[in-house]
Every structure is written in C-alpha cells, then in structure tokens.
Symmetry: C2
Amino acid sequence: MTKRPTIHDVASLAGVSKSLVALVFKQDSGVSEARRERVLAAAAELGYTPNAWASALRSNNTGFVGIIVADLHNPIFTEIADEARQTLAAKGVFSFVATASILDTPNGRVLDPAPIQHLLDLKPGSLLIVGGLPDLQPFSSLQASIPIVVALTSATTLPGAVSIRSDDRAAMAEITAHLSGLGHSTVAYIGPSGRTVMDDRRRAFEEAAADSGLRFVWVSTGGDTDEAAGRQAATEALALTVKPTAMVCFNDNIAFGAQDAVARLQPPRQVAVTGYDNTYIAGFERISLTTVDQDRSHIVRQACNLLTDAAAFEAARGSALLVAPTLVVRGSSVKLTN
Amino acid sequence: MTKRPTIHDVASLAGVSKSLVALVFKQDSGVSEARRERVLAAAAELGYTPNAWASALRSNNTGFVGIIVADLHNPIFTEIADEARQTLAAKGVFSFVATASILDTPNGRVLDPAPIQHLLDLKPGSLLIVGGLPDLQPFSSLQASIPIVVALTSATTLPGAVSIRSDDRAAMAEITAHLSGLGHSTVAYIGPSGRTVMDDRRRAFEEAAADSGLRFVWVSTGGDTDEAAGRQAATEALALTVKPTAMVCFNDNIAFGAQDAVARLQPPRQVAVTGYDNTYIAGFERISLTTVDQDRSHIVRQACNLLTDAAAFEAARGSALLVAPTLVVRGSSVKLTN
DNA sequence: TTGTATGCGTTATCAA
DNA sequence: TTGATAACGCATACAA
C-alpha cells in the first residue's frame, strides 16, 4: 500500500517546515511566492490532500456541514439532503451526510447514538437534521456552540435550533377545501402519532376538516410512516361502517399504501387519496397522487443560508420558519360519485 | 457548551492513568476487576464515549466499514446501503455511509474526489461501494490494503476488489422468454451506455433477444438512469415507425418513466414494460411493474460477510460473484393484443 | 516571512 | 498489572 502523503512529506520534498505547508493550504497571504510555488509543486507531485479530520481534531472547527438524514426510505429526506449537499458544494462548503439509525428496543424506538456521535466527533461547523428523529438529546449540548437547522419538522426540544418546515395548517386547509369542493363529506386521516410533526399535522387536519364541515376519523399507523403501514391502516379505514370517501395521508409513502388498499377493494370503489411531500413518485402518471408540495428548493436554500451565515443564524435562532406549501392536484383526488 | 469528556477526564476521575482507561475500552483482559469497575463507573458518570476518529488517527485502523452510495435517487442503492448498515450493526460492526457526488464537467461526468477522500481519511477497515461510479481511481491505491466490495456492478478497473451483482444474462433470458411467451415480437431496450453494468446489461439483453427470436432496437438514455431520461427515451421508442409492443428497461427508475410515456400515448395503446431492481415502488398496485429481483438480502449478506471476514475476502479477492436473479411478473407485462 | 514547540484524543511501546 | 512517553496529521502561538 502506498501511504497517503502527509504535510510532512510535502515539507521535506519542498525543503521547508511543516508549518509553512500548513500556511500555504490555509491562507492566501503570509507566504512568499517562491516558497508557495515550491510547496504547491511538491504537493502536486505527491498528490497530497490535507486530512480534514486530523485538522479538525486540532482546530476544533472544520467548517464542514454535517447532514443527518432521519430515514433513507423516504425520498423527500434523501432529496433534501442531496440538494443541500449540492447547494453547499456550489458555495464551496463541504458537507458530510450521515444516516440516523433507529433501534427497536423494548422501550420503543430509540435513536442509536453511535452514528450521530461519530458525526459529531468530526466536529462539524454546523448541522442540518433532515426529518424527525425520536430523540434530539444528543444535540442538546451542542446547540449553544454551533448552528443547528432542522428541516421538515420542528425542534421543540432544541430551543437553540432553527426549524424550517411547511405550514401544515395552510396545507390542510387547502386539502379539506379541495375535497369538500369535490363533494366529499366523510374523510379518514391516515397517519402516525407520537412526535411533533406527526401530531401537529394531524391536529392541523382535524381543525381544517372541522372548519370545512367534514366528518372525519383518524386511523393511526402507529409510529410508522411507510407504505406498508399506510396500506394496513387504510385497509382498516375502508372497512369502517361509516365508509370514508377520501383519505388524507400524513405523507406520500403512506398515501401510496392507501392507494394500494383502494386498488384492492372488492368490489371496486373509488376513494380519493391525498399525500404530503410531492415526492417524485407522486408525479408518475400511474400514481398521480394529489399531494402537498413543500417547496423543497426554498427550504434547502434557506437552510443552507443559515448554515453558512453565522449572523443570519443568530438572527433566526430559536425560530420556526414556515414555508408556504402548494397543493398539487392530480388524479388521485377524484370527485365524489354515487 | 459542555465539552465532551475525554479519556483524560475519565482517568483523573477514576484516579488512574489514561493508558489504563484505553485498555479497559479495548480489551477484556489485562486489567484488574477493581480498576476496571472504577474506570467504567467514572466513564458512565461522565458519559464518556471514545472518539473513534482520534483513535483512527493513531492506530491507522478503526475497523469500521465505509459505505459509499453512488446515487441517493435510486431506491435500490439506499435500500442496499441501509440493509448493509443494519446487518453490520447486528454483528457489532459500525459503518459510516457517505454519498458520492458526481460533477458535471465539460469532459463529462466526473467523480468528485472530495467526499470519497474524506471518507478514506477516516481510515475504514473495509469498503462497500454500492452502485456504479464514473471512476474507481480514488480506490486503486487502497485495494491492496483493505477489502473492497462493489455491489450491483462490476469493478473491472479494480482487480483487487470483489464485485457482487446479479446475473444479467440469466435475467434477460427470463425477460425475453417471458415477453415472447406473451406474443411480443418487437421489443425496445431503454437504457444508458458508457459504464460496465450499463453496457453489459444491454448486451445481455441483445443476446437473449436474438436467442428468443425477437426483433429489437435500443433507444439510449445517454448516461442517465432516472425516470426523466426513461420517459424521454421511451417516448422516442414509441414513435418509431416499427412500433415496439414491449419495452425492456435498464432499471426500475427508467421503467417508471417508460410507463409514463405509455400512459400518455394518444390514442391509448397497450405496451408491456419491464424493469430491473424490484424496488419497493415496483410493487405498488398502480405501478405493478414486472421486474427483476436482485435478491437484495443475499447480496447484502454476502457483502457483509466479505467485509468483516478477512480470510473470506482473501479467498474471493478479484472475483465477480453472480447472484441468481428472479423475474417478478406483475401487471405491466401485458399480453400482446391486436 | 519562516521555523520551533506544543497539543487535539487516542493508541502503542516500553519500563516499572 | 500499571504508568510514562511518544506519535498519528495537523494547527497555532510564539520565537526567530
């Protein structure tokens, strides 16, 4: 194995001290042109690149952005993470994505501290958390020292963080208005409970549904947010004695499961389904899911700005930014027929 | 900010030397029960966890598995990465997922070396690469020193690595037999070219199609593998003078795009579509995509075994393991009607 | 402008 | 069995 060249190797090849090499790779000024070129040439010859983590160990600040994805299975999480990574890269800021790991224990779901801790050991200059985590405890001691932005959920237990999410009340008002306009009067809400977004969104639905004069029932998916849980809960909802003619789902994944449940109905029956997130799948012709667009790029832009501009973050610290959602109407929200 | 406790803090609280604390956290034996308990108690009180990267710096070996995901947009990549992470965690092995970043340059697509380099700086004990990368250069100097496993593609430029992928020839033979059994005789292949899996899979299709006596045409998606490229290429294919009655797609994402193109046909016309990967989306009732199942869990199990068992890896070094695929027949592969 | 010394949190080596 | 010391690759204060 060819060992990776270090600052030491470059220094000895260029015939200078290690400090000088460090200087060349840090600042623009403070080193003479002649030496700078010698160092750069030596570095190029050896193929040297700085070891960012060794430097982090020493300086306690690398300036990179740590990105934590709550769940790889939800496309909107990976899309946001990926877009953030690209946006930051365009600004010349490096980011590192880590995925959270949820452990199923007898006491319920717990956040595995290890992957998080490992990312934090890397000493990120700021942190972006995408999606809801069972537990924000590992970050509580950090919120004073680095900017933390939480996207797609609110960070109630992290008062020093900034959260950016779409306005659920506005979204649910649009959805219920849309459905009642289509003639629906009995609607089921299919979604989980337990964490902030989950409960907030459901309550937002319930208020909006009441305002629109809809009869509604909530069928829980437990703590799950995937299509399997959606399929199961929707199947239950469709078997209720007071049959809902529309199902409003917590997110797209659950809605896809609900669509499955509708497709399997015997005898066939048309039931409207709506989602939340506008993942790319919702736009497929065969899916055509009416859903709420969270304005991904706006969320990402805002998040990246806060993550890289300390003053902007301080000004926003502790606030919960709401982004205006848009209802994307597609074929899944069918008109009521009888 | 409360600083994270270090080995130093634990040592002074327990009234022992740092070396002893390190020993306690390293091995089971070699330290007296009395001291071990004192150290453990102190560590618990302070909430100490070792800083893995500082230890990597010194020991040159952390034992963790680095996982590189080629593309977050493809569900099978994230699913494999996630399942590998869980499988390794069950074995008590920590893994860290990094996502590759592809840069669009005038010279075509290039792998951004930075994220890769950063992961390698962490000194993984072994490496899992999920999906095809434009360039395996950054790993060439590494293949002698640590086990590298490449999943879902072959590593032609990395002779020291082990690749695990499904048998494209077997899969394509099944697909073409299935389609010709349904009465199809003119089939379009929708897929990219340029990298190994891309070209291999296409050639496998062409051979199988010829063997099955099918007429076929290839409509390229360029270098793209997403649904937008699939939609576009499939639209072209459907407009050909010799109209294909079936479209075999490189992967599920492209197939979803192809399904979109079919759905938009005016006047409506039934065209069979097949995919490759059996992502969870393919199983949705409204999608019902006939596709090739790569036997995810078998691939993951095999990969994780090689990544954690040095002897097993050495025995397999340089080989390309083929996993038997299964054709999952669903509603999208319609019978030929006229 | 350049070099020396020291420390980040850890492990490895060697004595005791 | 335990402790002192050096080193990993780098950054920073300070001296030259």
